[in-house]
Amino acid sequence: MTAATPVISCKNVWKLFGANPEQYLKSLSGNPGFDEIRQAGYIAAVRDVSLDIAKGEMLVIMGLSGSGKSTFVRCLSRLIDITGGEVKVEGQNIGEMSEKELIDLRRNKMGMVFQSFGLLPHRTVLDNVAFPLEMRGQDRHERRARALEVIELVGLSGREDYFPRELSGGQQQRVGIARSLAIEPDIWFLDEPFSALDPLIRREMQDEFLRLQEMLGKTIVFITHDFDEALRLADRIAIMKDGVVEQCDTPDQIVLNPATEYVAKFTEEIEKSRVVHAGVLAHEVNGHSLTGDPVGDKQTIAELARLLVNDSRDFLPVANNTGTLVGAMNRQEALDVLLGAGS
């Protein structure tokens, strides 16, 4: 497998709920709307979704409740069988896998974190975290050693012998995260992992999560209904509505160029300067004379606000973290983003 092959690849994935969805899907021609399908007595949870997820990428799927995002992530792990299309994980079509192959895939490649944690109430933290290892038949000693390792990673050392109900919500979700990491999965699914937590704890857990991701560099599918959370974490965001992906792009592009009205409504309230990076606004140099210190391409416009206001240059050089020049940023354009003009 080359670096270019996507880890997960979906083609025209459909998920319909109803009496006889497969037959109904075959009878469909064109692309009927959500309401039309509903009138036929079916609920369209996922409609004709195609997208690829690259290795090491964090894709955030954002949508309000009922948009089909949770169903979609369950299609990716085959917790739910899809009605049409195909899902390939590392080139293998998971819809065609036997039960044994699927179990093997989950035992070695996939981890999942759930919104309401999904912990086993009768097992201690240690036994919960070791559960996937136990399922694949590792011996007690190895299990314990590995579980303690991940428990330390999520900062729960000293609570190994606690039972889930003796922990706070944030701590329980740490257990959920530790369990999903125990088998060292390549692909990590997180289904609204922080939605059940208080805002303060949620923020803390997001930081924790970013720290973990920096260390581990997994391929991640992250579900949320919180647009701020999506912007904060994502490499790419897929916005879903009524089972359809309205737009799938980087956070910068989503706030700068919303593809549909629905996406635009989300971005309206967002302070764009906090999302857009200098690198995105960098254009080809095209003979402009660039003088002075460059700005970093990973810096947001908000971070550059003082400089943008005080500087007198028309074009600012933008450089990446190795110091190489990547382009020139039009100061006026950047100021427009900062002040919210022209949107």
Partner: protein
């Protein structure tokens, strides 16, 4: 019932339904009024309508027993059970069978009881468990109680295992569940005696038969609870199991069953309570133990001694109930790192230590080993004295009450029930069914009572119906106000609920003791026992229903300036009604059971016939009678739950 009927405007469909209901009702009234001019075929079921169900069932039984050879299977199973019973009998009361090491000294069992109670909930429960065994030993009832317990110890695990397996099967297969559900419904509304007759045919009488009837009788709730528990496991927990790569078996063994632990243990609790209730009643088929003693003493009107036994049975029931409930609700707790082995296992060590100490002491002090009849205490004399004094004291009242009830209430109502032409009764029930649930409910009512008419036991059935109607009505008149009164403040409600819960754990047999004491052996005593037994669920559900009314609604009523009475009548009672109806439903079920049990103190209803069927081991007749009782219960259950469901929907509670 559809939600359409609930629209306040009253759409045409509602109107038609209620009109049809009234039409049938008027027809029923006309049939009743015209009783004397009706053709005989409408007054009592004509002979051609009465089908020989009993003969058919008997033929089927003979076929299954002899031709299919089921007898060998049941006998083999019974022999296995008997072997286990012998083991426990030897251990608990020293029956001369393998392994011949018993009886275990009573102090050892009592100390284990103490430790189990302490481990499960603390010293209060330990006093109850240990104290129960001390009481039993000191009162010289050890052997009888152990005879009873030895059967429970064998029967309960069988039921739990059967129930769990059946529950899992029903959860796995929708078809199996669809078949099982009606069977369970009927099984749970068949009176106890109906189970005994086939068992006597297949297995005979004695402890072995007692154990088997107990197993059969106590399985249904376990199936129900296992199924419920497996259904209730949160979706995400199962998904997390899948994502951890569990196979199906691993998922069941490590995820589903442990997560359903509480429901399954509640099932265990119900199994054990059912076992106790049945074991006590199994005295009718020669099961020795507390039940048999109680039966003999009651028949001999030895009040003091029967009260003693009654207390023992009650203590056992409460103890078993509290222990299993404590087990069900007990949540695991962790030990801090570095706790020693001794602390981890303190209860186990304590139990072993105490048992060994008692075992050694028992070798030297005979009283710690066994307490014989001669050394035992008895409080029967003072109880008899108090009871005699009390009976003499209130004799004028009871005499008058008995006279009044019999001449002015019971006999007139019974005659009225018997006077009703069966066609009128059927029409009346159809009208009720129609009004509550439309055509379907009307057909259900007709079906159930039509079958009773065709069984040929119409008069007997009417006597049962009359007893239940009278008893439940009186119980309601007493129970509702009591429940309303009990619900007014939190403290009172919790005390009242505790009393109701405790009363509900008593085996039905116990309720006969006080009424026999007061009224002797007659109709009034039967109705009295049924009233007592039926009032408990009424009070309980009234309180629960009233307490469950959302606080905001009451606050809203208060802020609207409602007085206490207005809040009660306009807000709390209407909201609580569906829950209260569940109580009514249970109350009817309990009364039916009680009426049948009370047969042995003299009734002329289905119960008496069932006793006869039992003594002549007539399976067909017994089952027909049992089914007749079950059908009455099922019909009421259908009507009440249909009504409650539509009411709940209308109130937006579901």
């Amino acid at each position: 019932m559809t939600d359409q009927t609930m629209t306040p405007a009253g759409n045409p469909q509602t109107w038609t339904r209620s009109r049809t209901g009234w039409t049938i009702f008027i027809a029923a009234c006309l049939l009743a009024i015209g009783n004397s001019v009706l053709p005989a075929g409408l007054v009592r079921p004509p002979e051609w309508l009465v089908l020989p169900f009993a003969d058919w069932i008997n033929a089927l039984f003979v076929f299954v027993r002899d031709d299919l050879g089921l007898l060998y299977l049941t006998r083999a199973f019974a022999d296995g059970v008997e072997w286990l019973l012998d083991v426990t009998a030897n251990l608990l009361y020293g029956k001369n069978r393998w392994p011949r090491i018993g009886p275990i000294p009573w102090t050892v069992i009592a100390s284990i009881g103490f430790v189990i109670g302490y481990a499960l909930q603390g010293w209060r429960l330990s006093l109850l468990t240990g104290g129960t065994f001390v009481w039993i030993a000191v009162m010289g009832q050890w052997k009888w109680a152990m005879e009873t317990l030895s059967v429970i110890v064998v029967a309960a695990p069988f039921s739990i295992l059967f129930g769990l397996v059946m529950g899992i099967l029903a959860w796995r297969s929708k078809t199996f569940e669809r078949i099982l559900n009606p069977v369970l419904n009927i099984a749970q509304s068949l009176p106890h005696f109906a189970y005994m007759i086939p068992v006597v045919v297949f297995i005979g009488v004695g402890p072995k038969a007692g154990a088997i009837v107990t197993i059969i009788f106590s399985v249904p709730p376990m199936i129900r609870m296992s199924l419920l528990g497996l259904r209730k496991v949160p979706h995400e927990v199962i998904e997390s199991g899948h994502m951890c790569g569990s196979t199906r078996w691993q998922l069941l063994r490590h995820v589903r069953i442990p997560t359903a632990r509480t429901e399954i243990l509640v099932g265990v609790n119900q199994v054990i309570m059912q076992c106790l209730a049945m074991v006590v009643l199994a005295s009718f088929i020669g099961m020795p133990g507390l039940g048999q003693k109680l039966l003999q003493l009651l028949q001999a009107l030895k009040i003091g001694r029967s009260v003693e036994i009654g207390i023992t049975i009650v203590l056992l029931a409460v103890m078993l109930d509290r222990c299993t409930k404590a087990w069900a609700t007990k949540q695991p707790e962790h030990f801090e790192k570095g706790t020693s082995f001794a602390v981890h296992n303190k209860f186990l060590l304590l139990g072993i230590g105490l048992s060994l100490a008692c075992l050694v002491l028992a070798q030297f002090i005979p009283l710690m080993d066994q307490i014989g009849r001669r050394d035992a205490f008895t409080i029967s004399k003072p109880i008899d004295a108090v009871a005699d004094w009390f009976i003499v004291l209130i004799d004028p009242v009871t005499q008058w009450l008995r006279w009044f009830l019999i001449t002015w209430v019971l006999i007139p109502i019974r005659d009225a029930f018997l006077w009703m032409p069966y066609a009128a009764v059927l029409a009346l029930l159809a009208a009720a069914g129609w009004a509550i649930g439309g055509l379907r409910s009307a057909l259900v009512c007709l079906g159930f009572f039509g079958l009773i008419a065709m069984s040929g036991w119409w008069d007997r059935a009417m006597i049962t119906v009359y007893t239940v109607v009278v008893a439940v009505s009186i119980a309601a008149v007493m129970g509702f106000p009591l429940g309303i009164w009990g619900s007014f403040n939190e403290k009172r409600a919790s005390i009242a609920l505790l009393i109701c819960d405790t009363l509900q754990t008593f085996p039905s047999f116990i309720y006969l003791i006080p009424v026999v004491m007061l009224f002797g052996v007659n109709d009034v005593a039967v109705v009295g026992a049924v009233i007592l037994f039926a009032a408990v669920p009424l009070v309980r559900y009234t309180i629960e229903g009233l307490r469950q009314v959302p606080e905001t609604l009451i606050e809203a009523a208060d802020m609207s300036g409602a007085t206490k009475m207005q809040t009660l009548w306009k807000v709390r009672l209407p909201m609580a009604l569906p829950t209260i109806m569940v109580g009514v439903n249970q109350s009817v079920m309990f009364s039916l059971f009680m009426v049948i049990i009370a047969a042995f103190i003299g009734t002329q209803d289905l119960g008496q016939e069932m006793q006869r069927a039992l003594s002549s081991t007539d399976v067909g007749k017994g089952l027909v009678l049992g089914l007749a009782v079950a059908f009455m219960g099922l019909m009421v259950d259908h009507l009440v739950s249909t009504w409650a469901r539509s009411k709940k929907e209308a109130l937006g509670l579901e």
